[in-house]
Symmetry: C2
Subunit: 456 residues, 2 copies
């Protein structure tokens, strides 16, 4: 275990590395790479150009070192640094990677290169890698690790400890998985229980039998929720016949939770779901963001059409235009609040999809409370700003704000729930869609109320 460093020290490492790269001081760079934790190297590589990234990777002293670095690198960088490596070098590095990481990396290549690599990696690994690659993305099967410690239920404690001693070093061994003759999972023994049990006992006497497992097609988010909720260290993965296939460990769950949160953040803002967007070029960036802006564009054009329809009214009462931003802004604001609360509640399991009426109803009450308060405030403020030139203008604006905020909470809370029920990701709804819908509704309401009250 290399010493991990504090984030304040990362900056020092980064500037040292950049200076050495400028000077092409390769011997010194290798020296630093030898004594730095690969997680830290991976972090500073994010801010380097591709040439320097390749230099650092090629200066890693051993294939083992390269493997450890690959485990920590962002996917976009893995692709880049391995682009020019021969299949032979890659297979050498792969010897030090667990089969899950091998599968993830191989999937990044073209089919030709995939076959080339699969041909030369070790036979045992090959089967496992192909198995993992056969499971759908983001399923328990695709993220599980096959490197686990399993024994038959009739093994004695003494023999189990002996077998543990000859098992290759692995940080991820927390439990011993107990199987029957047909390789079905029948129990679990913690290392602690193993150590503190009598030597003569058999695993089946000391194991916990009541265990929960995921199947290979369980969604990774579901796996993460389960591990978090029940404080598991690892969740076994079985096939439909309960045959033990591997485990998902808590450190992978930590990554999943962070990644899923990042994806939700980006999706809610309408940036697609590429977690590594910061590493992409401005052009790629604009490409993944453009479609979501289209939503607000179409909404804007609808709003323009609505306002144009009320052209005559606007000509008579030109001051109405001044309050368009506040009415759509305040509605969008409260609608985004509602949808964020609901989206996050769905993601953390706090919102129950089978019983959503009370939730939407509550949001509408919140919307009307806030609408009443701010409707009154802005109504009065508008009377003040525009002088007393226009009767009832304050009433129009106050009432519009009240209605638009109330409707905004209903829309904001409902859209994610409807998406969830239709099996879409609720996160995609909040940003662009909800605000756009509220823009259109807000403008329409405002001019309807104005034409009703003011044109009499």
């Amino acid at each position: 275990m290399k010493k991990a460093i504090f984030s304040t020290e990362i900056n020092l490492l980064r500037s040292t590395m950049q200076r050495l790269l400028r000077r092409s001081a390769h011997t010194n760079i290798t020296k630093i790479l030898r004594k730095t934790h690969q997680a830290d190297v991976a972090q500073i590589m994010r801010n380097l150009n591709q040439y320097d990234q390749n230099t650092i990777f090629s200066l890693c002293p051993t294939a083992l070192h390269k493997a450890r670095l690959l485990e920590e690198l962002d996917e976009a960088l893995i692709e880049k640094v391995l682009e020019n490596e021969s299949s032979k070098t890659i297979s050498k590095i792969f010897r030090y990677l667990d089969t899950n990481d091998q599968a993830t990396i191989i999937s990044m290549f073209s089919e030709d290169k995939q076959n080339e690599i699969l041909k030369i990696i070790e036979v045992d690994d090959k089967e496992e890698v192909e198995e993992i690659m056969s499971y759908p993305d983001d399923s328990a099967g695709s993220i599980m690790t096959k490197e686990t410690f399993t024994l038959d239920q009739n093994t004695s404690v003494k023999d189990s400890i002996k077998k543990l001693q000859s098992f290759p070093e692995n940080d991820k061994i927390f439990y011993l998985y107990v199987l029957d003759k047909k390789e079905k999972l029948v129990g679990v023994v913690s290392l602690r229980t193993l150590v503190t049990s009598k030597n003569s006992k058999k695993l089946k006497d000391i194991m916990i039998k009541d265990i929960q497992a995921a199947t290979t097609d369980t969604d990774q988010e579901e796996v993460a929720k389960k591990v978090a909720q029940y404080n598991y260290l690892a969740l076994p993965v079985v096939n439909r016949q309960n045959r033990f296939l591997g485990i998902v460990t808590i450190d992978d769950v930590v990554d999943i939770i962070r990644e899923e949160a990042s994806e939700d953040f980006l999706q809610m803002a309408g940036v697609g779901k590429d977690r590594e967007i910061l590493l992409k070029s401005p052009f790629e960036n604009a490409q993944s963001r453009a479609p979501w802006i289209l939503a607000s564009l179409i909404g804007g054009i609808c709003a323009a059409a609505i306002i144009s329809y009320f052209n005559n009214l606007l000509e008579q009462i030109i001051v109405l235009a001044a309050f368009i931003p506040v009415i759509i802004g305040i509605g969008g604001n409260v609608g985004t609040q509602s949808s964020t609360i609901v989206v996050r509640g769905l993601a953390t399991g706090r919102v129950d999809v089978t019983n959503t009426f009370p939730l939407i109803f509550k949001e509408v009450i919140v919307g009307s409370l806030l609408g009443a308060t701010y409707g009154l405030l802005v109504g009065l403020a508008s009377e003040y700003i525009t002088g007393t030139s226009m009767n009832n203008l304050g009433l129009v604006i106050g009432l519009s704000i009240f209605c638009s905020m109330t409707i905004a909470t209903a829309v904001g809370a409902s859209v994610p729930i409807i998406l969830k029920k239709l099996n879409f990701d609720p996160a995609i709804s909040t940003g662009p869609f909800v605000t756009t819908a509220i823009d259109i509704i807000g403008v329409a309401l405002y001019f309807l109320i104005a034409s009703t009250i003011l044109i009499n």
Copy 2:
């Protein structure tokens, strides 16, 4: 370990429990409580009214059962179910809680009740609870667990295993922490290493010496980042003199990561940072959301003042009003994208605060790429919608969209970075603040461009 159930089965449990509660079938409820995992009970309690929540809590068969349920309950519910319990009952339940949970729960009470409870809990626990309560909120000290397995470095492997056997059962023992005579942390031994080492060896011969620790005042977010980055199972906590005080375990880190993400989601939408907002009344809800809406209200009133200032222009060219929503909507949209990318990058450590110019510059390029595309589109669309009645209107709108999107990306990317540099939470900036700033800038730009181009 009680059997944990799948989320699809939760609904069945919920409806059964509700039916039994309606019938006051208390014996049956207790029977179900006996065989259900407390994490599942905690989840269904969220959707019950307070009376039913109290009933379920009081029907838990033993103090141990109540303790396990408290470990899983949301803080808002803990407060409610313990409200009417006597200090004596509480202290009975506390015997089964680790000192960290005790400290968290005690902090919820009034000072009088705190002192009352502290008086009657066990003396050993009392000191530890008071210690934990003395550390700042959200610090490593306040979240660490004191229930750890520590031994002197001169202990032999054989004696260590013996001591482990007499140590109370605890799921959270992954490592043995090795101390010197002054209780300073000098090393760590994994249970696996312990089991696979020779009996005669001493801990100091087999321990890993190069270990990283947090101090009591390290922020919990920093702790979580470290555990996630280096794949630790637990991080030791020491005081400034390196005296070992406790550990933060990975299952707590999982909770922290989820909670911090939830807080960021809510803050970005301007809903405050109360993760349990779904459990609060509509009135409390409106209260915590109101201040953030004020931002958009003030922004809206500024925009109204700006538009009023251009009253004459608007009177001549009334159609300008129709495009206000699209210009501020599209700017707000792309600005939110930028700020979300930056806020999330800061939270996950992907954005380097010391070198932000390239990031902001890249965002501006993205903004101008998108601005050019959509400026052209909306410019042409506006010519079509309004007919050919007005020369150059398309130019005004296209140019305004280009400028407002470019500036929006600059604002969206800069505000979180500036907040971070000023030591504020960058998440509070995105929702209301950024969109409001962009509303004002967008409207001002639009009318400036219109008055320059159209009034000649």
